[in-house]
Symmetry: C2
Subunit: 351 residues, 2 copies
């Protein structure tokens, strides 16, 4: 391998000068700079990133740590998230380092990352209601940004969508269509946004004097299979839900399948609405019955998060980097009025 010293010797210069020339220091003369870069190219010189990191204390790398059997890695949303993240990080000449640690060892691995100099900052995804990773990061004031936020008011940089607004709008739409037996198909318990969405849902129902029985709420992976399973089970209840509110478009896909078996027409017999992260390969407008959604492209999140972490690392105040994106309500054909006198006996569950 060609080293800085090789280039220096070749030119009869000192390594320091070569380093300065290559790194664009202003004191270097124009002709020297040209000579140096020519020689570097000629000799095929590439700086050793480990040496540079050791000397500067910067790695140019942002880390993410996953749980060993992480949901997020099995989450199809994640690909799109990743795409945006990487492209944007490339603009800051940064790379992304993936690390997997068992659920019980998360904190140890976070500590190792913070102390080893392997990364300049961390990206935290799917924060939990009480997130110890965030606490650890905060305690060491290590640079990080969060996708979502674990509480209402926080002091770190984050990008979140307006989960409350989205769920409120979705629930109101169903209420306005006359639904009172609304099921919520949500994500896994313990995640902050799952909780936030549920809170908004419950509150909005309460505003109209309604409560939802626990059997009308499910917590599961946000995939097609889980949507099918949960919806199938709920459809056997008497009375059954007349509407399904799903935390993800994949869940809604499963609901569609569950509704097909008893031949309940989507949007007529039963309404379905979902939150849509806008995955390029999963267009909700092209579902068999176009799906009513609350919409917030997950790609927006990743692009902004990548820009943010670069800024946090650069020393910008994290509190100035807090974004809550609003969410659109897109009404399509999967939502409609409660059918008058359906075959299911009506039973009020008003308080």
């Amino acid at each position: 391998m060609t080293t800085l010293k090789d280039v220096a010797q070749y030119l009869g210069l000192s390594p320091a000068t070569v380093s300065r020339a290559l790194n664009g220091f202003p004191e270097v003369g124009a002709k020297t700079r040209i000579r140096v870069s020519a020689a570097a190219k000629e000799l095929g010189y590439t700086p050793n990133s480990n040496a540079r990191r050791l000397a500067t204390g910067k790695s140019g790398v942002v880390g993410m740590i996953f749980r060993a059997t992480s949901n997020i890695l099995v989450d199809p949303h994640f690909t799109d998230f990743l795409a945006g993240l990487c492209s944007q990080l490339a603009n800051s000449e940064m790379d992304l380092l993936f690390h997997v640690a068992p659920p019980g060892q998360q904190l140890i691995h976070y500590a190792r990352f913070m102390n080893s100099g392997a990364v300049d900052g961390m990206l935290v995804s799917a924060p939990e209601i009480e997130d110890q990773r965030i606490e650890a990061l905060l305690a060491r004031s290590f640079p990080f940004v969060v996708h979502g936020r674990h509480a209402k008011d926080v002091s770190y940089a984050y990008f979140d969508i307006d989960n409350d607004g989205a769920m409120t709008a979705a629930t109101r739409l169903l209420l306005d269509f006359g639904h009172t037996r609304i099921a919520l198909l949500n994500g896994p318990k313990g995640l902050a946004y799952v909780d936030q969405r549920e809170t908004a849902f419950v509150r909005t129902l309460a505003e109209r004097g309604l409560v939802t029985p626990p059997v009308f709420v499910s917590h599961d992976e946000m995939g097609e299979e889980a949507g099918y399973a949960s919806a199938s089970a709920m459809l056997k209840l008497k009375p059954r839900p007349t509407a399904f509110l799903c935390s993800s478009s994949l869940l809604a896909l499963g609901v569609y399948r569950a509704l097909a078996e008893p031949n309940l027409e989507v949007g007529k017999k039963v309404s379905v609405i979902a939150h849509d992260d806008v995955l390029p390969h999963m267009r909700t407008e092209h579902f068999a019955v176009p799906l009513t959604v609350t919409r917030a492209p997950i790609r927006d999140a990743s692009v902004q998060l990548a820009a943010m972490i670069a800024e946090v690392i650069a020393g910008i105040d994290p509190k100035s980097l807090q974004v809550t994106e609003s969410v659109d309500l897109v009404v399509r054909d999967s939502t409609g009025s409660v059918p008058a006198g359906g075959e299911t006996p009506w039973q009020s569950i008003r308080k």
Copy 2:
């Protein structure tokens, strides 16, 4: 930050001894080792990975470089691939480094990776028919493994599926059902496996004296949208295809949608078969009409590739690390005989 020196001073030992104790060298006495690891824990010592890398010349990192507007990053298959990769790499205590480079600058960035010491090995995905990245890697004898292979006989480590066998089986099945107008919905041109699949398809047809007109073959992203668009266009042809062979289950999903519009029953009026990478959130057995597929879980690939790259880095001969996984044919309801006297005029395209 606590350094090795700190621990050494604290114990009245030399850094060398502490290093040896912590790294499990045999010459260190049992009591010393215990003392050292206790002190290390007490002082919260974490080795600086950059210093270690510089000293050892090893990074413990495997790299992947994507094209800036990479297909693979928008590819939902990729999430599952990544999941397997990371979990398995964790077993070798390695991490994955993601880097994005514009299409035209791939080779420069590969060179940089090889020379900078940032990674110990590379993972190459979606090889092209003539792949310069592979040539560069080979030329420097830098450790790498390939998902797929760019030619029949190669000298590097790879994990591939039996594309030829899969396509041959799929095509034969359709032929045995009496189909002669078979459309192929394939991936983007230039990729090795796309070519390999097409070759097998064409050859198998030729064995029965059939040719497929170019309009019956499409090359596109392997998503639902593309499947819909291609199938829709082909269905307008006279005569139209009676069967669709898709390179991915997502394409098949789009074909289903295209078939729904003219109300052509899947498996009755028109047959559909696809290659299935077995994505957890996209179960082909649960399609509206269960899909006939050639099946090879992409997760197998990633797990094996991760194990392989670790071995290549460890110095094992790449030629001993070449796996071609066989593919299952799973016949379900989306394939059937050509309907007798359909509304579309029959027109032989036998040679």
